[in-house]
Symmetry: C2
Subunit: 492 residues, 2 copies
Amino acid sequence: MNHDMGFVRQRLGELQDLCYTLNLLEWDMEVLMPSKGAAGRGRCISTVSALHHRLQTEPRYEEALQRLADDGSLFGDDALIVREAQYDCRRAACLPEDFVIEQTEAHTHGFNVWRDARDRNDFAAFRPCLEKNVELARRAAEYYGYDESPYDALLENFERGMTAGRLRTMFGPLAESLKELVVQVEGTETPEFPDGHWPVESQQVFERRVMQDMGYDFEAGRVDIAPHPFCTMFDLQDVRITTRYDESAPLSSLYTVMHESGHALYDAGFDSAQARTPLATAPSLGIHECNSRMWENLVGRSRAFWHHYLPVLQETFPRRLDHFSVDDVFRLVNRVQPSLIRVDADECTYNLHVVIRFELELAMIEGTLSVSDLPDAWKTKYREYLGIDVPDDRDGCMQDVHWASGLLGYFPTYTLGNIYAAEVYAKFRDETPGWDDDLRHGRLTTLLEWLRPRIHRVGRRKQAAEIVQNIIGREPAADALLMHLRARHLPA
Amino acid sequence: MNHDMGFVRQRLGELQDLCYTLNLLEWDMEVLMPSKGAAGRGRCISTVSALHHRLQTEPRYEEALQRLADDGSLFGDDALIVREAQYDCRRAACLPEDFVIEQTEAHTHGFNVWRDARDRNDFAAFRPCLEKNVELARRAAEYYGYDESPYDALLENFERGMTAGRLRTMFGPLAESLKELVVQVEGTETPEFPDGHWPVESQQVFERRVMQDMGYDFEAGRVDIAPHPFCTMFDLQDVRITTRYDESAPLSSLYTVMHESGHALYDAGFDSAQARTPLATAPSLGIHECNSRMWENLVGRSRAFWHHYLPVLQETFPRRLDHFSVDDVFRLVNRVQPSLIRVDADECTYNLHVVIRFELELAMIEGTLSVSDLPDAWKTKYREYLGIDVPDDRDGCMQDVHWASGLLGYFPTYTLGNIYAAEVYAKFRDETPGWDDDLRHGRLTTLLEWLRPRIHRVGRRKQAAEIVQNIIGREPAADALLMHLRARHLPA
């Protein structure tokens, strides 16, 4: 192997190991860490982030990449690895190391302050952290550079190539159509699960069965409890998810688990031959959400899914759900009702929660909304888009972890994921005539096997929109999502 | 602050953060990691170890330390920090980075192979790993350099300043006296706990009470289950222990928990004003064991301890222990009986297990015992020192994790810890006339408060033997340990 290429691969391996290490430091912080460990953990995360940045931007690494790019003799995956490594290297080089440390510390601090402040419904306590995070995001945008909006420079970190302008064009008409759809279907009478105690242990037995059917490997991952569900990885063979339980509802964690398992199956499905290179990572968060939302909503909330799993659920909770039909559960898990909390929202209103956040963070980044005005702006938007009153900030603008952790420009990827998922799943169904029958018998891996070569193993060899385009044969658009929602929620 | 000193403090902080990060990678590997994650975890550990080594040995850091040392204007803690940092830097510089990576990978691999091989009682499968670890240890000794035995160079990593020669002088007579003592007291009739099921949850309630009385802060640590109990730290305010349970014995985990909590209280008690410097670390493992063994044996197996805790235990397991007296429990937890497994051994035979390991690893490192002859040599020593037959390698030379993880030169620190503990505890009792009464009432923090300024907050400002000497007023010797054991175990 070319000497430079050997060095680049070694460096990429080290960088990936440091990312996995950061993931573990953060996973433990959210899942297990005792409260007084927060300050020390913040320092460890800062140190490892700074070292990652130092390795990523070291001149001799940059030079080796440049020689390989200039040389032009590389082909196949090696050429793609150099292309992606150079992209990462240039992005990282935009930010000075001191700034990276300042940012990392502010984000860890923001997370810890937010956690307490949210519990106490104390926006005033959280405000300085958010102001700091917005200011850092704006400075980062200046370091990165941008053509139209500083927001574009941030979005690039999560959805490469996407711009605020394109999002506005997509999201504007989508939001209008969704508002109409919600008005048409909201408040439809639906059944309710009986009141009572639904033990966590039984919920876990049921979920575990679904996860196994999806293809999740419990020898290469685990499920833990955390206040904010997420998926993370420490290796292609150690991909973990977290969830949370409410013992007053039998499916309190099912859709969280299906969602996070969708992420996990993607991460575990990268090309192991290119492990520890950028090719074994995702090109964007939107494409990541495409996987999680497909499993959660398109699969998990379908009638055919419940045809198979209602009997399993009935067995898990003997005698308590005997009077439920597949149609009952289908209607129950698809109830449309404007509500306060994004992560609990139904499939239709969900995207309106996202559009609200997109518009607000865009305004904060572009400087047309100050952080102190955020709580009021939040309330106005919820009235406008969802027709509901927000009683306090805990269940208002402080409900999500993202801004507290400095993730500005992240929210739109949720709706992009829904759009991609609707497009890809429609194509999958077209190509897979036996799917409905498979789904009705719990043979869920049919979908997994179809996704593996088309999305998972591709990794970062292609960009997100290109991957979807290759699958569906044209540019992805919001129509497929609307079609799916209308088909599912409007009376035939 | 002097510019060099600022740089040195920053670098020391980074190095300490990387140590804590490594601790977390290893903690998770032993406590939670799914089995298939092992290879990836090994790579992360290697990468972080290599970066630690690179930062530790960077020329500009070495030069800054040298300027500070030459300058001579530093005083107090700054001077001590530079002294200790320079010591670490020189030790690390002995080993090339490639060697550090090779060593780290071999140790992680060894650990994972050993875990399976031990379960299957398959020494042949484990042998190549142990051969590799012995070879690496011998190469490390050559890199470090030594005067008399290559073993001295390894021992230095765990018990600075100690030599194989001094250990032989101390351990030889101790072993002879212990053999005699064991013959005198073994097989004394003792009570037994009743057969039955002793639920983990109840054992945990009891232990937690003891830990809290000892002064352990559950907001700055946690207890998890692992096959091999240990204590680790990720910050002065995040010090965790692990234990294991056997539901057929009510005290199956108590002494493990007291032992590991002893370690944890030491780690949590370092001087927080010098956090993230070598001064907030331990000077040796022997002094670490001094703490853990003092709590486990000298406190936890005393009559006065059970005076207070037997009623608590009886409350934890209602009606099942009502017929037990303090004397019964005292005799039960102090039964002397030669046995196979070091970690389950009583206070008297324990040190014979250690002496066996010391002699065997010394012979392997000095090249007078080959790894393939280890199983037989193990059996011979067990017959000679403990008078028992070893039926297989699982419960023989494969029972401990140390050699699998490349920890050669580590075992003697256990007995040194017992020696230090006996010396220090005798002095503490002399100085604290109210202790017996405190102990009889569960006021355990009297001991903690006494240890804080004398050992915990000292950190690495002094070396282990010096710390003990400052407390007792002369050089530590094995006599105090023998005196304690005779007083406790021989009929008055």
